[in-house]
């Protein structure tokens, strides 16, 4: 029962975090990083 409750709570928190993060404009930061070549990832940044 405890694990089931934890599971559902974490699911709800995750969905809430996605929505809040999107409302905070984090998606723009993610997209900005992802649509430009990540110089650090390829070892020249």
């Amino acid at each position: 029962m405890r694990v089931r409750l934890l599971r559902v709570t974490l699911l709800v928190l995750s969905i809430a975090a996605i929505i809040l993060g999107a409302m905070n404009g984090e998606i723009r930061t993610v997209v900005t990083k992802a649509i430009n070549v990540c110089l650090q990832c390829i070892g020249i940044g």
């Binding site: 974490l10 984090e26 993610v30 990832c41 390829i42 070892g43 020249i44």
Partner: protein
């Protein structure tokens, strides 16, 4: 080796990296689909990638927001983890597939059982993914994605190799950091030929997060204790060093299904727990 799983991994790896024009032009996809993180470790600078890497994105938001953790990215990772646990590693991660294919190369194999080295990935998560992007910043207050910069061999393989091969200006800028990252990639490749998924077991910070969620995820490996004979077949077949008859929710289990397939009495199953059988997966 479960060939059906390998085929599934192959299809998902191709789907995640199917902007083939990028491989021809030496550029990356710049569309809005990159707002969404994929569940596994897949570099967003891979020329074919449609989506974003969750670990890279987590650090990117850290770096741009003066140390605030990304609710959006951590929510996505939490969602993948709480639903699937490390099933992501076993079925959806392209870099996991790469390591498994390398392990198929005929060579002398080293079987690594449970070892304290598995805790290294938690240190990598805390130090390189959280603390260093949070604390180490340049004079403009901008941090680096330290895990991507210093370690990630997936980025080197999926992004650096094709981009540097196809793009002369990038190739000209490669220096000591590229040599360092290429060395880590070579070490990972060699280790993957002789040992099963060494990067996933000891280094991957995403695997560390999903491993912690293995115990509570909706998808579970479950053991029916009433019929288990403790013959040891599941332990023998597990290349991740897990004993499912003792702990089917072990954080190292990637839900590859090999133990389910080999169990002579069908005591193990993978899926949503029915709640009817006596299980060792959960305490509920």
């Amino acid at each position: 080796m479960n060939s059906r799983r390998t085929a599934f991994q192959g299809v998902t790896a191709i789907l995640q990296n199917s902007w083939f024009a990028g491989f021809l032009r030496g550029t990356i996809w710049r569309g809005s689909s990159k707002a969404v993180c994929v569940p596994g470790l897949n570099c967003y600078s891979c020329p074919g990638a449609w989506g974003s890497c969750p670990i890279g994105s987590l650090q990117a938001v850290f770096n741009r927001t003066s140390g605030r953790i990304s609710l959006y990215v951590s929510g996505l990772i939490g969602l993948f983890g709480v639903v699937l646990g490390r099933l992501v590693c076993g079925w959806l991660c392209p870099f996991g597939l790469v390591q498994e294919l390398l392990y198929r190369i005929r060579s002398r194999k080293v079987r690594i059982g449970p070892t304290r080295l598995r805790y290294l990935k938690y240190a990598v998560l805390v130090v390189l993914v959280v603390l260093m992007p949070l604390l180490v910043r340049d004079r403009f207050g901008v941090g680096d994605p330290w895990f991507c910069k210093l370690i990630c061999p997936a980025g080197t393989l999926e992004a650096a190799v094709p981009l540097l091969a196809l793009n002369a200006s990038l190739r000209g800028a490669a220096g000591w950091l590229f040599v360092w990252k290429a060395s880590i990639l070579v070490a990972t490749v060699v280790a993957s030929v002789v040992a099963y998924r060494p990067f996933c077991r000891f280094v991957c910070p995403l695997g560390a997060i999903y491993g912690l969620l293995n115990r509570i995820s909706f998808v579970q490996l479950t053991l029916n204790e009433d019929i288990c004979t403790h013959c040891g077949a599941c332990t023998d077949v597990c290349k991740m060093g897990v004993d499912p008859s003792v702990d089917a929710t072990d954080p190292e289990c990637i839900r590859c299904n090999d133990c389910v397939a080999v169990c002579p009495v069908h005591a193990l199953s993978l899926g949503l727990p029915s709640g009817q059988r006596k299980q060792r997966t959960t305490t509920d």
